[in-house]
Amino acid sequence: MMRAWWKLSVIQLKLFLREPEGVFFTVVFPLVLLITFGSIFGNEPVPEFGGRGTIDVSVPAYIGLVVAISGLMSIPVSAASDREKGVLRRLRSTPVRPHAVLAAWVGVFFIVTALGSLLLVLVGRLFYGLRFGGSLFNMVMAFTLSTLSLFALGFIIASVARSGRVATVIGMATYFPMVFLSGATFPWEMIPKKVQTVAMVLPLTHGVQLLKGLWFGEPWSAHLVNVAVLLGTLIGGVVISAALFRWE
């Protein structure tokens, strides 16, 4: 079954790369944002960001943006349209295990998300002198937790959406409020206090806070709430989509 999983992953990656929208929003769009704001504000330390530069606070936040697009758009649209077209139905008539298909989806979109994030880090580092104050291991853990948590949310969308088009609509309706209010695009520091309170219900807010905190070397103990919400979303998402997801 490893061979089936591997081939499924390769095909899934190829299919993703052949859809220009997916590549644009996952890779190009966050990069354009970074370069735009980097060109305007540079990366000089400013008091509003606690003595850090615009790029320093933007990179971990934009990683949240990449995570959100994969979880809330790529996964639900891909899974729901495969079901709508009968791709999943056809797969079910072969000996391939549903787990292998699921693992291929998660694996491929995880790697795509990681690459999109890495690109932000590289561009920030090479062109704007991005500062990093945390540990690589903690960052990888925080990234993995946030990503899997948002993916689990995406599978709930994939479970309730009857078609690729419905998945796109639900995905967008979740994605846009989340990326604007969570601090993934507009810096959290600039969001009004009242809106911040509301935004605390969004899982992505906790993802961005965790990524940002660990990026600057804050300890896990300072982010227990973030971790709890993300873990809860992950477990809830897995349980709900396992109960609701249909292969046809």
């Binding site: 089936a4 190829k14 495969d82 077209k85 791709v87 139905r89 056809r90 072969t94 000996p95 391939v96």
Partner: protein
């Protein structure tokens, strides 16, 4: 030898009974047709055999396996072309074959299947760019990848033009000639008649007839029709006038039909004479029906023109069995 045994299969979706006590056997090496109108329960029946759905009641055995508990082993041994199932738009033909080949421990070389199904030059084409016929050929190729013993083909030729449909029939015969059992589901009676060794006619979740197409037709329709026109002006006007005044399309006058009826009176093979769509239609039975009709008409001085004969079809069988037309 039976490769599929279905006994008292029953399946309902909520209050809607899809399959209502169906039993039949499929023998190794035959093309077994399951025909009937849309919604008759054909696909549900076959999905229970394939292990994609579980019946509410009844037993299914395929190659000695129970699809309910031994679905994994079963899926190694069968090939499936599903109705309304597809591939992603931007998967290439070779990628689809390569991918599906990875699902089975034992496969035939997909490069050969490409050749055989005339897809070699479409190897690099995206699935979405294929014609309807090419897509269906790819689906059959996918169904044959694991060298299955039984191949299920569900509505294989729906949406294809007549030429592509005929080409597809040849392919299905080739599959059978390689020793595979084919289960063919269609709502297209002519397809079942041309292709199948035996046919189960399903209507409203029940099998209403099961036999070879020829036996079904002989038993339930068995009718032959001779259809022709008669240049009726020949009866009343000089022959020289015939060419200019011959009524081509108008229904034959009652006088003409009467003359034919009189001429054929007492011919045992003839059951009915009527006019339809500008032609005289003589209904009857028997292998010597045509000879008897033509001989008797000739003796009476009536020369049928544009004579053709029609055999009863499975469509007629369905009509005879249910009182409804297939396409209603």
């Amino acid at each position: 030898m039976n490769v599929i045994t279905v006994e008292h299969l029953f399946k309902a979706y909520g209050p809607v009974v899809a399959v209502d006590d169906i039993s039949f056997q499929v023998e190794e090496g035959e093309i077994f047709g399951i025909v009937g109108p849309n919604g008759a329960g054909k696909t549900t029946t076959v999905e229970c055999i394939e292990g994609l759905r579980f019946p509410d009641r009844g037993t299914v055995t395929v190659l000695g396996l129970d699809p309910r508990t031994e679905g994994d082993r079963l899926r190694q041994e069968i090939g499936v072309q599903l109705q309304e199932a597809a591939l992603p738009d931007r998967i290439k033909v070779w990628e689809a074959l390569d991918l599906y080949a990875s699902f089975y421990p034992r496969t035939v070389a997909w490069a050969e299947l490409l050749e055989q199904f005339s897809l070699a030059e479409k190897k690099e084409a995206y699935f979405a760019r294929l014609s309807g016929g090419q897509k269906q050929r790819l689906f059959i190729a996918l169904a044959l990848l694991n060298d299955p013993r039984i191949v299920f083909l569900d509505e294989l030729t729906t949406g294809l033009d007549p030429q592509a449909r005929r080409a597809m029939w040849d392919l299905v015969r080739q599959v059978r000639d390689r020793g595979k059992t084919v289960v063919l589901i269609t709502h297209f009676m002519e397809e079942a008649e041309r292709l199948c060794d035996r046919v189960a006619v399903i209507d409203r979740g029940r099998i209403i007839a099961l036999d070879t197409p020829r036996n079904l037709i002989r038993r339930l329709g068995g009718e032959v029709r001779a259809i022709f026109t008669v240049a009726e002006v020949a009866f009343t006007t000089p022959a020289s006038m015939v060419m200019s005044t011959a009524p081509a399309i108008a229904a034959p006058s009652p006088a003409v039909v009467d003359r034919v009826r009189q001429a054929l009176a007492g011919v045992p093979q003839v059951t009915k004479v009527e006019s339809a769509e500008g032609e005289v239609v003589v209904h009857g039975q028997g292998t010597d029906f045509i000879v008897a009709v033509v001989t008797r008409l000739g003796a009476a001085g009536i020369y049928p023109q544009n004579l053709r004969t029609e055999q009863a079809t499975l469509d007629d069988v369905f009509l005879a069995l249910t009182g409804r037309k297939m396409r209603d």
